[in-house]
Protein backbone atom coordinates (compact mmCIF):
# COMPACT_ATOMS: atom_id res chain seq x y z
CA UNK A 1 0.00 0.00 0.00
CA UNK A 2 1.19 3.50 -0.86
CA UNK A 3 1.30 5.58 2.26
CA UNK A 4 1.26 8.84 0.35
CA UNK A 5 -1.98 7.72 -1.31
CA UNK A 6 -3.38 6.82 2.08
CA UNK A 7 -2.50 10.27 3.40
CA UNK A 8 -4.31 11.97 0.53
CA UNK A 9 -7.39 9.73 0.62
CA UNK A 10 -10.21 9.86 3.15
CA UNK A 11 -11.57 6.78 4.86
CA UNK A 12 -15.18 5.89 4.15
CA UNK A 13 -16.07 6.36 7.82
CA UNK A 14 -15.09 10.05 7.65
CA UNK A 15 -17.40 10.88 4.77
CA UNK A 16 -20.08 12.31 7.06
CA UNK A 17 -22.77 10.22 5.38
CA UNK A 18 -25.05 7.48 6.65
CA UNK A 19 -27.98 7.63 9.07
CA UNK A 20 -27.84 10.23 11.86
CA UNK A 21 -24.42 11.42 10.70
CA UNK A 22 -24.97 14.84 12.27
CA UNK A 23 -24.32 13.15 15.63
CA UNK A 24 -23.01 9.66 14.89
CA UNK A 25 -19.58 9.81 13.26
CA UNK A 26 -19.10 6.09 12.73
CA UNK A 27 -20.27 2.60 13.63
CA UNK A 28 -17.73 -0.12 14.26
CA UNK A 29 -17.73 -3.82 15.07
CA UNK A 30 -14.64 -5.83 15.92
CA UNK A 31 -14.11 -9.52 16.56
CA UNK A 32 -11.23 -11.06 18.53
CA UNK A 33 -10.02 -14.42 17.19
CA UNK A 34 -7.08 -16.73 17.88
CA UNK A 35 -5.49 -19.69 16.18
CA UNK A 36 -6.16 -22.83 18.19
CA UNK A 37 -2.66 -24.27 17.84
CA UNK A 38 -0.44 -21.44 19.10
CA UNK A 39 -0.01 -19.71 22.45
CA UNK A 40 -1.69 -16.31 22.67
CA UNK A 41 0.48 -13.43 21.41
CA UNK A 42 1.73 -12.38 24.86
CA UNK A 43 2.96 -15.92 25.58
CA UNK A 44 4.27 -16.78 22.07
CA UNK A 45 8.00 -16.80 21.35
CA UNK A 46 9.23 -14.54 18.57
CA UNK A 47 9.63 -17.50 16.13
CA UNK A 48 6.05 -18.50 16.97
CA UNK A 49 4.84 -14.96 16.37
CA UNK A 50 6.55 -15.03 12.98
CA UNK A 51 4.83 -18.34 12.15
CA UNK A 52 1.43 -17.01 13.31
CA UNK A 53 1.83 -13.86 11.24
CA UNK A 54 2.91 -15.79 8.14
CA UNK A 55 0.13 -18.37 8.47
CA UNK A 56 -2.65 -15.79 8.90
CA UNK A 57 -1.22 -13.57 6.16
CA UNK A 58 -1.02 -16.49 3.70
CA UNK A 59 -4.46 -17.82 4.58
CA UNK A 60 -6.17 -14.41 4.36
CA UNK A 61 -4.83 -14.21 0.81
CA UNK A 62 -6.63 -17.46 -0.09
CA UNK A 63 -10.03 -16.22 1.18
CA UNK A 64 -12.31 -14.28 -1.23
CA UNK A 65 -12.06 -11.17 0.99
CA UNK A 66 -8.27 -11.35 0.67
CA UNK A 67 -8.54 -10.22 -2.96
CA UNK A 68 -9.66 -6.76 -1.88
CA UNK A 69 -7.19 -6.34 0.98
CA UNK A 70 -3.71 -4.85 1.08
CA UNK A 71 -1.39 -6.37 3.65
CA UNK A 72 0.99 -4.11 5.56
CA UNK A 73 3.92 -5.49 7.55
CA UNK A 74 3.52 -3.22 10.59
CA UNK A 75 6.78 -4.46 12.13
CA UNK A 76 8.71 -3.03 9.18
CA UNK A 77 7.03 0.39 9.19
CA UNK A 78 8.56 3.65 10.38
CA UNK A 79 7.04 5.01 13.60
CA UNK A 80 5.39 7.85 11.66
CA UNK A 81 3.61 5.45 9.30
CA UNK A 82 2.43 3.33 12.21
CA UNK A 83 1.08 6.47 13.87
CA UNK A 84 -0.71 7.38 10.62
CA UNK A 85 -2.56 4.05 10.75
CA UNK A 86 -3.53 4.74 14.38
CA UNK A 87 -4.89 8.18 13.49
CA UNK A 88 -6.81 6.53 10.67
CA UNK A 89 -8.25 4.04 13.22
CA UNK A 90 -6.92 1.14 11.14
CA UNK A 91 -4.70 -0.19 13.95
CA UNK A 92 -4.70 0.33 17.72
CA UNK A 93 -2.08 2.32 19.61
CA UNK A 94 -1.00 -0.93 21.26
CA UNK A 95 -0.45 -2.54 17.85
CA UNK A 96 1.61 0.45 16.70
CA UNK A 97 3.77 0.43 19.80
CA UNK A 98 4.22 -3.35 20.13
CA UNK A 99 7.37 -5.25 19.14
CA UNK A 100 7.88 -8.20 16.82
CA UNK A 101 6.09 -9.75 13.86
CA UNK A 102 2.71 -8.14 13.26
CA UNK A 103 0.66 -6.75 10.42
CA UNK A 104 -2.62 -5.38 9.20
CA UNK A 105 -4.74 -6.08 6.13
CA UNK A 106 -6.98 -3.22 5.03
CA UNK A 107 -9.36 -2.62 2.15
CA UNK A 108 -9.24 0.41 -0.09
CA UNK A 109 -12.35 1.97 1.42
CA UNK A 110 -10.77 1.61 4.88
CA UNK A 111 -13.90 -0.14 6.10
CA UNK A 112 -12.24 -3.46 6.85
CA UNK A 113 -9.07 -3.96 8.85
CA UNK A 114 -7.56 -7.20 10.12
CA UNK A 115 -4.85 -6.73 12.74
CA UNK A 116 -2.51 -9.69 13.06
CA UNK A 117 -0.72 -10.31 16.36
CA UNK A 118 -2.35 -7.56 18.36
CA UNK A 119 -3.42 -8.78 21.83
CA UNK A 120 -5.14 -11.63 19.98
CA UNK A 121 -3.81 -13.34 16.86
CA UNK A 122 -6.50 -11.68 14.80
CA UNK A 123 -8.64 -8.62 15.40
CA UNK A 124 -11.14 -8.05 12.59
CA UNK A 125 -12.76 -4.61 12.37
CA UNK A 126 -15.46 -3.16 10.11
CA UNK A 127 -16.27 0.53 10.26
CA UNK A 128 -19.04 2.49 8.54
CA UNK A 129 -19.98 6.15 8.43
CA UNK A 130 -22.99 7.27 10.51
CA UNK A 131 -25.24 4.97 12.53
CA UNK A 132 -25.09 1.73 10.58
CA UNK A 133 -24.18 -1.05 13.02
CA UNK A 134 -26.10 -3.63 11.02
CA UNK A 135 -24.07 -2.91 7.89
CA UNK A 136 -20.87 -3.25 9.93
CA UNK A 137 -22.11 -6.48 11.53
CA UNK A 138 -23.26 -7.98 8.21
CA UNK A 139 -19.89 -7.19 6.66
CA UNK A 140 -17.75 -8.50 9.52
CA UNK A 141 -19.79 -11.71 9.75
CA UNK A 142 -18.93 -12.52 6.14
CA UNK A 143 -15.23 -11.73 6.66
CA UNK A 144 -15.21 -13.84 9.83
CA UNK A 145 -16.88 -16.78 8.04
CA UNK A 146 -14.34 -16.66 5.24
CA UNK A 147 -11.30 -16.47 7.50
CA UNK A 148 -12.79 -19.10 9.85
CA UNK A 149 -12.86 -21.54 6.93
CA UNK A 150 -9.13 -21.21 6.27
CA UNK A 151 -7.72 -21.08 9.83
CA UNK A 152 -8.84 -23.02 12.93
CA UNK A 153 -10.15 -20.41 15.39
CA UNK A 154 -9.74 -21.46 19.02
CA UNK A 155 -13.24 -22.44 20.18
CA UNK A 156 -14.61 -24.10 23.32
CA UNK A 157 -18.08 -25.57 23.62
CA UNK A 158 -18.83 -23.66 26.82
CA UNK A 159 -16.66 -20.54 26.55
CA UNK A 160 -17.06 -19.85 22.84
CA UNK A 161 -14.25 -18.10 20.95
CA UNK A 162 -11.19 -18.10 23.20
CA UNK A 163 -9.28 -14.86 23.72
CA UNK A 164 -6.11 -13.82 25.53
CA UNK A 165 -8.14 -11.74 27.99
CA UNK A 166 -11.23 -13.35 29.53
CA UNK A 167 -13.03 -10.00 29.24
CA UNK A 168 -13.35 -10.70 25.48
CA UNK A 169 -14.21 -14.41 25.60
CA UNK A 170 -17.37 -15.84 24.04
CA UNK A 171 -18.37 -13.76 21.07
CA UNK A 172 -15.13 -11.72 21.07
CA UNK A 173 -17.26 -8.85 19.83
CA UNK A 174 -16.90 -5.15 20.56
CA UNK A 175 -19.68 -3.03 19.07
CA UNK A 176 -19.06 0.70 19.18
CA UNK A 177 -20.40 3.96 17.87
CA UNK A 178 -18.51 7.24 17.85
CA UNK A 179 -20.76 10.14 18.80
CA UNK A 180 -20.30 13.88 18.61
CA UNK A 181 -22.01 15.31 21.71
CA UNK A 182 -20.97 18.97 22.06
CA UNK A 183 -24.33 20.27 23.32
CA UNK A 184 -24.45 17.67 26.13
CA UNK A 185 -20.93 18.79 27.10
CA UNK A 186 -21.82 22.52 27.03
CA UNK A 187 -25.01 21.97 29.03
CA UNK A 188 -23.04 19.82 31.51
CA UNK A 189 -25.30 16.80 31.13
CA UNK A 190 -22.63 14.49 29.74
CA UNK A 191 -21.48 12.98 33.05
CA UNK A 192 -25.03 12.11 34.01
CA UNK A 193 -25.55 10.41 30.65
CA UNK A 194 -22.36 8.38 31.02
CA UNK A 195 -23.16 7.28 34.54
CA UNK A 196 -26.45 5.86 33.31
CA UNK A 197 -24.65 4.09 30.42
CA UNK A 198 -22.28 2.37 32.84
CA UNK A 199 -25.26 1.04 34.76
CA UNK A 200 -26.42 -0.83 31.65
CA UNK A 201 -22.98 -2.37 30.98
CA UNK A 202 -21.84 0.06 28.30
CA UNK A 203 -18.38 1.63 28.22
CA UNK A 204 -17.50 5.19 27.23
CA UNK A 205 -14.11 6.00 25.73
CA UNK A 206 -12.43 8.84 23.89
CA UNK A 207 -11.84 9.13 20.15
CA UNK A 208 -8.78 6.89 20.04
CA UNK A 209 -10.07 3.94 22.00
CA UNK A 210 -8.96 2.30 25.18
CA UNK A 211 -7.54 4.62 27.78
CA UNK A 212 -7.82 7.68 25.56
CA UNK A 213 -9.33 10.93 26.76
CA UNK A 214 -12.35 12.29 25.00
CA UNK A 215 -11.20 15.10 22.73
CA UNK A 216 -13.41 17.61 20.99
CA UNK A 217 -16.60 16.16 22.46
CA UNK A 218 -16.22 12.87 20.55
CA UNK A 219 -17.09 9.74 22.50
CA UNK A 220 -17.15 6.03 21.76
CA UNK A 221 -19.90 3.95 23.33
CA UNK A 222 -19.38 0.19 23.36
CA UNK A 223 -20.53 -3.03 24.98
CA UNK A 224 -18.67 -4.15 28.09
CA UNK A 225 -19.52 -7.85 28.11
CA UNK A 226 -19.00 -10.43 25.39
CA UNK A 227 -20.32 -13.69 26.89
CA UNK A 228 -23.84 -15.00 27.44
CA UNK A 229 -25.52 -12.95 24.71
CA UNK A 230 -25.55 -13.53 20.96
CA UNK A 231 -23.68 -11.16 18.67
CA UNK A 232 -27.01 -9.81 17.42
CA UNK A 233 -28.15 -9.12 20.98
CA UNK A 234 -24.93 -7.23 21.70
CA UNK A 235 -25.31 -5.21 18.48
CA UNK A 236 -28.86 -4.39 19.60
CA UNK A 237 -27.70 -3.50 23.12
CA UNK A 238 -25.50 -0.72 21.75
CA UNK A 239 -27.83 0.11 18.85
CA UNK A 240 -30.83 0.55 21.15
CA UNK A 241 -29.20 3.18 23.34
CA UNK A 242 -27.86 5.34 20.50
CA UNK A 243 -31.25 6.83 19.44
CA UNK A 244 -31.77 7.88 23.07
CA UNK A 245 -28.39 9.65 23.12
CA UNK A 246 -29.13 11.25 19.74
CA UNK A 247 -32.42 12.51 21.12
CA UNK A 248 -30.70 13.98 24.23
CA UNK A 249 -28.07 15.69 22.11
CA UNK A 250 -30.66 17.10 19.67
CA UNK A 251 -32.72 18.45 22.55
CA UNK A 252 -29.64 20.00 24.12
CA UNK A 253 -28.74 21.62 20.77
CA UNK A 254 -32.29 22.98 20.43
CA UNK A 255 -32.11 24.30 23.99
CA UNK A 256 -28.82 26.07 23.25
CA UNK A 257 -30.20 27.73 20.14
CA UNK A 258 -33.47 28.66 21.81
CA UNK A 259 -32.14 29.92 25.12
CA UNK A 260 -28.63 31.12 24.36
CA UNK A 261 -28.71 31.77 20.62
CA UNK A 262 -26.43 34.79 20.61
CA UNK A 263 -23.94 33.15 22.94
CA UNK A 264 -23.74 29.93 20.91
CA UNK A 265 -23.56 31.84 17.65
CA UNK A 266 -20.70 33.85 19.11
CA UNK A 267 -18.86 30.73 20.35
CA UNK A 268 -19.01 28.86 17.05
CA UNK A 269 -18.13 31.98 15.05
CA UNK A 270 -15.10 32.63 17.24
CA UNK A 271 -14.05 28.98 16.89
CA UNK A 272 -14.32 29.30 13.10
CA UNK A 273 -12.39 32.58 13.24
CA UNK A 274 -9.49 31.06 15.16
CA UNK A 275 -9.27 28.04 12.85
CA UNK A 276 -9.11 30.33 9.80
CA UNK A 277 -6.56 32.77 11.16
CA UNK A 278 -4.39 31.15 13.88
CA UNK A 279 -0.63 31.12 13.30
CA UNK A 280 0.08 28.25 15.69
CA UNK A 281 -2.36 25.76 17.17
CA UNK A 282 -2.23 22.49 19.13
CA UNK A 283 -4.02 19.28 18.11
CA UNK A 284 -6.24 19.49 21.20
CA UNK A 285 -7.37 23.06 20.51
CA UNK A 286 -7.96 22.19 16.86
CA UNK A 287 -10.14 19.27 17.83
CA UNK A 288 -12.10 21.39 20.29
CA UNK A 289 -12.66 24.19 17.76
CA UNK A 290 -13.53 21.82 14.93
CA UNK A 291 -16.08 20.25 17.25
CA UNK A 292 -17.71 23.63 17.88
CA UNK A 293 -17.64 24.56 14.19
CA UNK A 294 -19.16 21.21 13.31
CA UNK A 295 -22.02 21.89 15.71
CA UNK A 296 -22.39 25.45 14.37
CA UNK A 297 -22.70 24.21 10.79
CA UNK A 298 -25.29 21.60 11.76
CA UNK A 299 -27.29 24.24 13.64
CA UNK A 300 -27.27 26.47 10.57
CA UNK A 301 -25.26 29.14 12.38
CA UNK A 302 -22.28 29.05 10.03
CA UNK A 303 -22.16 29.22 6.28
CA UNK A 304 -21.82 26.45 3.80
CA UNK A 305 -19.09 24.24 5.28
CA UNK A 306 -18.94 20.60 4.21
CA UNK A 307 -19.31 18.18 7.16
CA UNK A 308 -17.24 15.51 5.42
CA UNK A 309 -14.41 18.06 5.07
CA UNK A 310 -14.63 18.94 8.75
CA UNK A 311 -14.55 15.24 9.69
CA UNK A 312 -11.55 14.79 7.47
CA UNK A 313 -9.77 17.74 9.14
CA UNK A 314 -10.16 16.02 12.51
CA UNK A 315 -7.83 13.31 11.22
CA UNK A 316 -5.62 15.32 8.88
CA UNK A 317 -4.59 17.75 11.62
CA UNK A 318 -3.31 14.88 13.79
CA UNK A 319 0.50 14.78 14.19
CA UNK A 320 1.41 11.92 11.82
CA UNK A 321 -0.94 13.13 9.07
CA UNK A 322 0.48 16.63 9.22
CA UNK A 323 4.04 15.36 8.96
CA UNK A 324 3.18 13.04 6.08
CA UNK A 325 1.39 15.87 4.25
CA UNK A 326 4.39 18.16 4.84
CA UNK A 327 6.77 15.37 3.84
CA UNK A 328 9.10 15.78 6.80
CA UNK A 329 9.32 15.09 10.51
CA UNK A 330 8.38 18.09 12.66
CA UNK A 331 8.77 18.78 16.38
CA UNK A 332 5.75 19.91 18.43
CA UNK A 333 6.38 23.63 17.90
CA UNK A 334 6.73 23.26 14.13
CA UNK A 335 3.74 20.92 13.99
CA UNK A 336 1.58 23.58 15.65
CA UNK A 337 2.73 26.15 13.08
CA UNK A 338 2.19 23.70 10.22
CA UNK A 339 -1.25 22.74 11.56
CA UNK A 340 -2.34 26.39 11.64
CA UNK A 341 -0.98 26.90 8.10
CA UNK A 342 -2.79 23.79 6.85
CA UNK A 343 -6.07 24.97 8.39
CA UNK A 344 -5.75 28.48 6.95
CA UNK A 345 -5.06 27.08 3.49
CA UNK A 346 -7.94 24.66 3.75
CA UNK A 347 -10.49 27.33 4.67
CA UNK A 348 -9.14 29.79 2.09
CA UNK A 349 -9.88 27.22 -0.60
CA UNK A 350 -13.45 26.71 0.67
Amino acid sequence: MEFDALTKATGEWLKGTGPESDIVMSSRVRLARNLAHYPFVGRASEPERVEIERLIRDRIATAPVGQSLDYIDVGQLEALDRQLLVERQLISREHAEAQGARGVAIDRLEQVSLMVNEEDHLRIQCMHSGLDLHAAWDQIRLVDDQIGRVVPYAFHDRWGYLTACPTNVGTGIRVSVMLHLPALVITRQIDKVFRSLQKISLTVRGLYGEGSQAMGDFYQISNQTTLGKTEEELVEQVGDVVPVLIDYERRAREFLVRETHQNVHDQVSRAFGILRTAQTITAEETMQLLSRVRMGVLLGLLGDVDIGQLNSLLVRTQPAHLQKIRGTELDTKDRNIERARYLRQHFERQ
Binding site: G42, R43, D145, R149, W159, L162, C165, T225, G228
Partner: protein, 178 residues
Protein backbone atom coordinates in the same frame (compact mmCIF):
# COMPACT_ATOMS: atom_id res chain seq x y z
CA UNK B 1 -11.35 -15.77 62.04
CA UNK B 2 -8.27 -15.35 59.84
CA UNK B 3 -8.15 -13.18 56.72
CA UNK B 4 -8.59 -15.24 53.54
CA UNK B 5 -5.53 -13.58 52.05
CA UNK B 6 -3.03 -13.55 54.93
CA UNK B 7 -2.62 -14.60 58.53
CA UNK B 8 -4.02 -11.42 60.09
CA UNK B 9 -7.34 -11.25 61.90
CA UNK B 10 -10.32 -10.78 59.58
CA UNK B 11 -12.16 -7.61 60.56
CA UNK B 12 -14.23 -7.08 57.41
CA UNK B 13 -16.93 -9.58 56.54
CA UNK B 14 -18.30 -8.91 53.08
CA UNK B 15 -21.19 -10.65 51.37
CA UNK B 16 -21.19 -10.33 47.57
CA UNK B 17 -24.53 -10.73 45.81
CA UNK B 18 -23.62 -9.30 42.42
CA UNK B 19 -23.57 -12.38 40.21
CA UNK B 20 -26.75 -13.89 41.49
CA UNK B 21 -24.98 -16.08 44.01
CA UNK B 22 -23.91 -15.31 47.55
CA UNK B 23 -20.16 -15.24 48.28
CA UNK B 24 -18.64 -14.45 51.61
CA UNK B 25 -15.32 -12.69 52.11
CA UNK B 26 -13.47 -12.40 55.39
CA UNK B 27 -10.58 -9.95 55.17
CA UNK B 28 -8.11 -7.97 57.25
CA UNK B 29 -8.16 -4.19 56.96
CA UNK B 30 -5.42 -4.03 54.28
CA UNK B 31 -6.88 -6.70 52.04
CA UNK B 32 -10.39 -5.30 52.47
CA UNK B 33 -9.14 -1.91 51.30
CA UNK B 34 -7.50 -3.51 48.26
CA UNK B 35 -10.62 -5.49 47.49
CA UNK B 36 -12.99 -2.56 47.88
CA UNK B 37 -10.77 -0.33 45.74
CA UNK B 38 -10.76 -2.98 43.01
CA UNK B 39 -14.51 -3.25 43.17
CA UNK B 40 -15.18 0.47 42.75
CA UNK B 41 -17.60 0.69 39.81
CA UNK B 42 -16.08 3.93 38.48
CA UNK B 43 -12.55 2.63 38.09
CA UNK B 44 -12.86 2.77 34.30
CA UNK B 45 -13.06 0.00 31.78
CA UNK B 46 -11.38 -3.35 32.03
CA UNK B 47 -8.82 -2.32 29.48
CA UNK B 48 -7.72 0.86 31.22
CA UNK B 49 -5.23 -1.04 33.37
CA UNK B 50 -2.80 -3.55 31.90
CA UNK B 51 -4.30 -6.45 33.77
CA UNK B 52 -7.90 -5.30 33.99
CA UNK B 53 -10.33 -6.53 36.62
CA UNK B 54 -8.92 -10.04 36.64
CA UNK B 55 -5.63 -9.18 38.26
CA UNK B 56 -4.68 -8.22 41.78
CA UNK B 57 -3.98 -10.02 44.99
CA UNK B 58 -7.41 -11.47 45.53
CA UNK B 59 -9.25 -14.46 44.26
CA UNK B 60 -12.62 -14.74 45.88
CA UNK B 61 -13.08 -17.51 48.42
CA UNK B 62 -9.51 -18.74 48.82
CA UNK B 63 -7.39 -18.78 51.94
CA UNK B 64 -3.75 -17.69 51.67
CA UNK B 65 -2.60 -21.33 51.70
CA UNK B 66 -5.09 -22.38 49.02
CA UNK B 67 -4.11 -19.42 46.90
CA UNK B 68 -0.41 -20.32 47.17
CA UNK B 69 -1.17 -23.83 45.89
CA UNK B 70 -3.41 -22.48 43.12
CA UNK B 71 -0.79 -19.98 42.02
CA UNK B 72 1.63 -22.83 41.25
CA UNK B 73 -0.89 -24.64 39.06
CA UNK B 74 0.42 -24.58 35.49
CA UNK B 75 -1.13 -25.16 32.06
CA UNK B 76 -0.13 -28.53 30.57
CA UNK B 77 0.13 -26.93 27.11
CA UNK B 78 1.74 -23.52 27.38
CA UNK B 79 3.15 -23.78 30.92
CA UNK B 80 1.69 -20.50 32.21
CA UNK B 81 0.99 -20.59 35.96
CA UNK B 82 -2.16 -19.20 37.52
CA UNK B 83 0.09 -16.74 39.35
CA UNK B 84 1.43 -15.40 36.03
CA UNK B 85 -2.13 -15.05 34.71
CA UNK B 86 -3.20 -13.17 37.85
CA UNK B 87 -0.31 -10.77 37.44
CA UNK B 88 -0.64 -10.21 33.70
CA UNK B 89 -4.41 -10.47 33.33
CA UNK B 90 -3.82 -12.34 30.08
CA UNK B 91 -3.98 -16.10 29.54
CA UNK B 92 -1.21 -18.08 27.83
CA UNK B 93 -3.09 -20.29 25.37
CA UNK B 94 -6.59 -21.55 24.49
CA UNK B 95 -6.17 -24.61 26.75
CA UNK B 96 -6.05 -22.36 29.84
CA UNK B 97 -9.82 -22.04 29.67
CA UNK B 98 -10.04 -25.82 30.24
CA UNK B 99 -7.05 -26.07 32.57
CA UNK B 100 -8.20 -23.27 34.89
CA UNK B 101 -11.92 -23.65 34.23
CA UNK B 102 -12.89 -23.90 37.90
CA UNK B 103 -10.79 -20.89 38.86
CA UNK B 104 -11.83 -18.76 35.90
CA UNK B 105 -15.53 -19.41 36.29
CA UNK B 106 -16.20 -16.94 39.14
CA UNK B 107 -13.99 -14.30 37.51
CA UNK B 108 -15.78 -14.65 34.18
CA UNK B 109 -19.18 -14.65 35.90
CA UNK B 110 -18.17 -11.43 37.64
CA UNK B 111 -17.13 -9.72 34.41
CA UNK B 112 -19.87 -10.96 32.07
CA UNK B 113 -22.69 -12.01 34.37
CA UNK B 114 -22.77 -15.27 32.42
CA UNK B 115 -20.77 -18.48 32.12
CA UNK B 116 -21.87 -19.92 28.79
CA UNK B 117 -21.45 -18.81 25.19
CA UNK B 118 -24.69 -18.50 23.26
CA UNK B 119 -23.44 -16.82 20.10
CA UNK B 120 -21.99 -17.96 16.79
CA UNK B 121 -20.14 -21.24 16.42
CA UNK B 122 -17.57 -22.35 13.87
CA UNK B 123 -19.07 -23.69 10.68
CA UNK B 124 -17.27 -26.96 9.97
CA UNK B 125 -20.11 -28.58 8.02
CA UNK B 126 -17.87 -29.48 5.12
CA UNK B 127 -15.39 -31.30 7.37
CA UNK B 128 -15.47 -34.08 9.96
CA UNK B 129 -13.80 -31.79 12.51
CA UNK B 130 -15.45 -31.05 15.88
CA UNK B 131 -16.51 -27.50 16.85
CA UNK B 132 -14.20 -27.42 19.87
CA UNK B 133 -10.51 -27.15 19.11
CA UNK B 134 -8.96 -29.03 22.06
CA UNK B 135 -7.34 -31.57 19.70
CA UNK B 136 -5.37 -29.05 17.66
CA UNK B 137 -4.58 -27.00 20.78
CA UNK B 138 -2.74 -30.07 22.11
CA UNK B 139 -0.09 -29.26 19.48
CA UNK B 140 1.11 -26.43 21.77
CA UNK B 141 2.04 -28.98 24.46
CA UNK B 142 3.43 -31.43 21.92
CA UNK B 143 5.79 -28.78 20.53
CA UNK B 144 7.16 -28.20 24.04
CA UNK B 145 7.53 -31.95 24.58
CA UNK B 146 9.38 -32.23 21.26
CA UNK B 147 11.78 -29.47 22.30
CA UNK B 148 12.38 -31.24 25.63
CA UNK B 149 13.09 -34.51 23.80
CA UNK B 150 15.58 -32.75 21.50
CA UNK B 151 17.29 -31.14 24.50
CA UNK B 152 17.61 -34.57 26.13
CA UNK B 153 18.84 -35.98 22.81
CA UNK B 154 15.88 -38.41 22.67
CA UNK B 155 15.67 -38.00 18.90
CA UNK B 156 13.48 -41.04 18.30
CA UNK B 157 10.86 -39.67 20.71
CA UNK B 158 11.20 -36.20 19.17
CA UNK B 159 10.54 -37.70 15.73
CA UNK B 160 7.44 -39.53 16.97
CA UNK B 161 6.08 -36.34 18.50
CA UNK B 162 6.81 -34.41 15.31
CA UNK B 163 4.83 -36.99 13.29
CA UNK B 164 1.91 -36.71 15.73
CA UNK B 165 1.97 -32.90 15.38
CA UNK B 166 2.02 -33.19 11.59
CA UNK B 167 -0.91 -35.60 11.63
CA UNK B 168 -3.04 -33.21 13.69
CA UNK B 169 -2.03 -30.15 11.65
CA UNK B 170 -2.82 -31.87 8.36
CA UNK B 171 -6.24 -32.89 9.72
CA UNK B 172 -7.05 -29.33 10.81
CA UNK B 173 -5.17 -27.18 8.32
CA UNK B 174 -4.81 -29.38 5.25
CA UNK B 175 -1.71 -30.95 3.69
CA UNK B 176 -0.07 -27.62 2.80
CA UNK B 177 1.07 -27.16 6.40
CA UNK B 178 4.64 -28.14 7.29
Amino acid sequence: MKCQQCDKQAVFHITELETGEVRELHLCEDHARTYLNQSEPDQGSDEDSPGGPLTGPLTVGQTADELAVLDKKACEMCGITFFEFRNLGRLGCPHDYAQFEKELEPLIANVHGATRHTGRRPNRNETDLPESTEEITSVIGLRRAMQDAIMSEDYEIAKQIRDTIRGIEVRWLGPAQP
